[in-house]
């Protein structure tokens, strides 16, 4: 009888079987990793290579055209990585902000009563999201390179801002000591605005009294520092760019690669965010705003107190994945020569040092960390706004 066979008996027992299956799975997985790691060790030994991160401290000896921290060709590969990382973070933040604004506008346009705006938004969204983001990046970059004028024929905005094929030239600020007072006032105003909103919410929850929070906070954050700024006699000296020879000297320049990548990523992601916003707003039942109107709440406050808080619950989770996508898509910068982290450590440094393993590990670790940071930040926000069930 097969029932008496102890092995079969063990197999028919659920607990034992799960242990057996897992041991086998573990053995297969470990075996696979052992195999490929062994291969890697043999292959590296044949080539006379080792896994070593010391190259990070050697001079990188290449230039990076956009660096927000001190960098020249004698700086180390590590500095190059940091410069690349800053550029990635910069494009991600700038892209997320612009994409969110455009996306919300598109979402509202899609729901508008106006037939024309509705259709314009529809055509835009359908075209943009069915074309790969890389084509958007190359197309925007191509249009900019082909149509922007040379520095001598720059598009001139009041002799202070200039747009040409070297980028967007703007005055650069030179901060004087008194400026830090203004900066302090500004930070103080933000802290005040934060505390005041909490206080106003508490008062409203307890007594129903409503303060014009947005107006007061806007005043505190913008007008007060502005007044202090002018009272202290404008403590920023602006260095205006000027045409010298074939190019502009002085001032700041936003490079065309950055502008192209920023616009392309934002325009692309905005199409997806537009659809997310639309479905979020449509998910709020019409009865909610009708009930709010029946209670005599004005249209504006119905929107801000009833519709938007409920729509956000539907919007935020998919919005998070769009932010993650935008950040990951920023790695396509390499196609147009914007020096992000993939282009620096994963591109030129990798080719110069021949340390593929180490460089790719660093790049992947950086992206995993960024993804983790964005999703935990958005999860925190999602937990704050989600429905509190009793």
């Amino acid at each position: 009888m097969s029932n008496t066979n102890p092995l079969l008996k063990a197999w028919y027992d659920k607990e034992t079987r799960s242990v057996i299956v897992q041991v086998i799975a573990m053995a297969v997985i470990l075996g696979f990793f052992a195999y490929i790691i062994n291969n890697a060790i043999i292959n590296l030994a044949t080539l006379g290579k080792d896994i070593n991160f010391n190259f990070l401290w050697q001079p990188a000896s290449y230039d990076i055209n956009q660096h927000l921290i001190e960098y020249d060709s004698r700086s180390s590969h590590f500095t190059a990585t940091v410069v690349g990382l800053i550029n990635t973070v910069l494009i991600a933040i700038a892209g997320i902000i612009l994409a969110t604004i455009l996306g919300f506008i598109l979402g509202v346009m899609r729901l508008s009563n106006n037939w024309l705006t509705q259709k314009i938004a529809y055509v835009y969204i359908e075209f943009v999201r069915n074309v790969p983001v890389l084509i958007h990046i190359l197309l925007v970059h191509g249009i900019m390179v082909n149509t922007l004028p040379r520095p001598k024929q720059s598009v001139n905005f009041g002799d202070t801002f200039f747009l040409n094929n070297r980028g967007f030239q703007s005055p650069s600020p030179d901060f004087q000591p008194l400026f830090w007072v203004v900066a302090g006032v500004f930070v103080g105003a933000i802290i005040f605005a934060f505390l005041f909103s909490r206080y106003a919410k508490k008062v409203q929850d307890e007594t129903g009294k409503h303060y014009p929070v947005a107006l007061i906070n806007l005043f505190a954050i913008i007008v007060v520092p502005a007044i202090v700024y002018f009272l202290l006699g404008s403590p920023i000296a602006w260095e205006v760019p000027a045409l010298k020879g074939f190019n502009f000297k002085g001032g700041m320049v936003i490079r065309p690669e950055f502008i192209a990548l920023w616009l392309a990523l934002s325009l692309y992601t905005a199409a997806f965010i537009g659809e997310i916003v639309r479905s979020g707003i449509m998910a709020v039942s019409h009865g909610q705003s009708e009930a709010s109107h029946a209670l005599g709440v004005s249209s504006g406050r119905t929107l801000s107190l009833v519709v938007i808080p409920q729509a956000l619950r539907v919007i935020v989770p998919p919005l998070t994945s769009q932010y993650l996508n935008l950040t990951k898509n920023s790695s396509l910068a390499i196609a147009i020569g914007y020096m992000d982290v993939v282009a620096t450590i994963g591109g030129i440094s990798l080719n110069q040092t021949g340390r593929e393993m180490e460089c790719m590990m660093i790049v992947m670790a950086i992206y995993l960390t960024l993804s983790l940071l964005i999703s935990s930040g958005m999860n925190w926000y999602n937990n704050r706004i989600k429905l509190v069930e009793r």
């Binding site: 799975a25 292959n43 044949t46 314009i120 359908e126 084509i135 082909n146 995993l368």
Partner: protein
């Protein structure tokens, strides 16, 4: 004045009041219902009126369609002449001219396979589905050669053909792997579960381009010493793994949407794990997640364009090579628009199909 009288229920239907029908009324409701709406409409009409004629002018009226170099083209219009000159390249890449019938044959066979998958009332559908399942292998043999056919180097693959090869391979293999990963993630065996979670989250956390770099630069380190495999094959493996992680998450959504009672009912009928999954759980979970699956396919198909960064020449790659060709210098806008339209047509088609499926499967509220 005579007034006609009607017996109850016999009065003929009157036409609707004239101020609630017709184009004028439509304009009133949709464009000029109130002052803000009117302002928005006027601004929109103004913007369209200045941009659309200029765009049509540039795109079609002043465009040049035939020519051999950039110099044959008018300067103030688009230059579409490159399309005719390079059409073969756009479709076949550098595939040897004498062997191109193999590409055409694979394309026809692909159309049949797709029809078998999508058309539910196809005659002998069971056999056709088996054919669709083995199609990727037949096509692989046809395209690369060997066993009686002249071998073709995969470096010669290019254009639409390469895009479709990567897209179809990714689609065909990411679905089964994705299903296994999704089941693994839901499993109550901790080792399998955490391995699946680790794999899925790792792949979803890094950009596809870093995986492609891994494929092109360091994958060979992990292979047995002395072995060498083809760059296209390495790329196909990476694209498939990448898509399966996303697929797994979509299918997990479908699995989670099923009530627990389904699994319990299967258990109480005495079905084992694989029987329960195959007969009860997966058919329902996959049906729920079809729109998500199609969206993942669209995403995968769009992502195939990334292979140009590691030097493969898909449609976009051929386009990009044309941009740097001295005979066609300065044509980037036209070339990229052309490639964009190609991707738009295919992706929009898939999106429409997914919408159609969604409507067909969304029967819950209608019955």
């Amino acid at each position: 004045m005579t007034e006609q009288t009607y017996a109850p229920g016999t009065h003929p239907d009157l036409p609707p009041p004239s101020n609630t029908v017709g184009p004028i009324h439509w304009l009133q409701v949709n464009l000029f219902s109130n002052i803000p709406n009117t302002i928005v409409s006027l601004v929109a009409i103004y913007l369209l009126a200045i941009s659309i004629p200029a765009a049509i002018d540039w795109l079609f009226l002043k465009a040049t369609y035939v020519g051999e170099t950039r110099n044959d083209c008018a300067r103030d219009g688009a230059c579409w002449a490159f399309i005719g000159e390079r059409l073969q390249l756009f479709i076949y890449g550098f595939y040897p001219e004498a062997e191109r019938w193999r590409v055409d044959l694979s394309a026809i066979m692909l159309a049949v396979a797709i029809a078998a998958v999508l058309w539910e009332r196809m005659p002998a559908r069971g056999w056709m589905l088996i054919y669709a399942a083995v199609y990727p292998f037949i096509a692989g043999w046809l395209l690369t050669g060997g066993m009686g056919l002249t071998p073709v180097d995969t470096n010669d693959f290019g254009g639409v053909m390469l895009t479709v090869v990567i897209g179809i391979t990714g689609i065909a293999f990411s679905l089964p792997i994705g299903i296994l990963l999704a089941l693994g993630r839901q499993s109550n065996l901790p080792i399998i579960k955490y391995f699946s979670i680790g794999f899925i989250e790792f792949i979803r956390g890094v950009p596809l381009i870093t995986l492609l770099f891994v494929a092109s630069t360091m994958l060979s380190y992990f292979l047995p010493p002395g072995s060498n495999f083809d760059l296209l094959l390495r790329v196909l493996i990476m694209v498939t793994l990448f898509a399966s992680a996303y697929m797994a998450e979509v299918i997990r959504g479908g699995l989670q949407a099923l009530p627990k009672g389904q699994k319990e009912a299967a258990d109480s009928l005495g079905l084992n794990y694989w029987q329960a999954m195959r007969l009860i759980i997966l058919p329902q979970a996959l049906t729920i997640s079809i729109p998500g699956i199609v969206n993942t396919f669209i995403g995968l198909y769009k992502d195939t364009s990334l292979v140009i960064i590691i030097g493969l020449l898909d449609v976009l790659g051929v386009g990009r090579a044309s941009v740097s060709d001295t005979a066609w210098v300065g044509l980037s806008t036209e070339v990229y628009l052309f490639v964009a339209v190609f991707f738009f047509i295919t992706c929009f088609g898939m999106a429409r199909y997914s919408l159609h499926l969604e409507n067909k499967l969304h029967t819950g509220h209608k019955h």
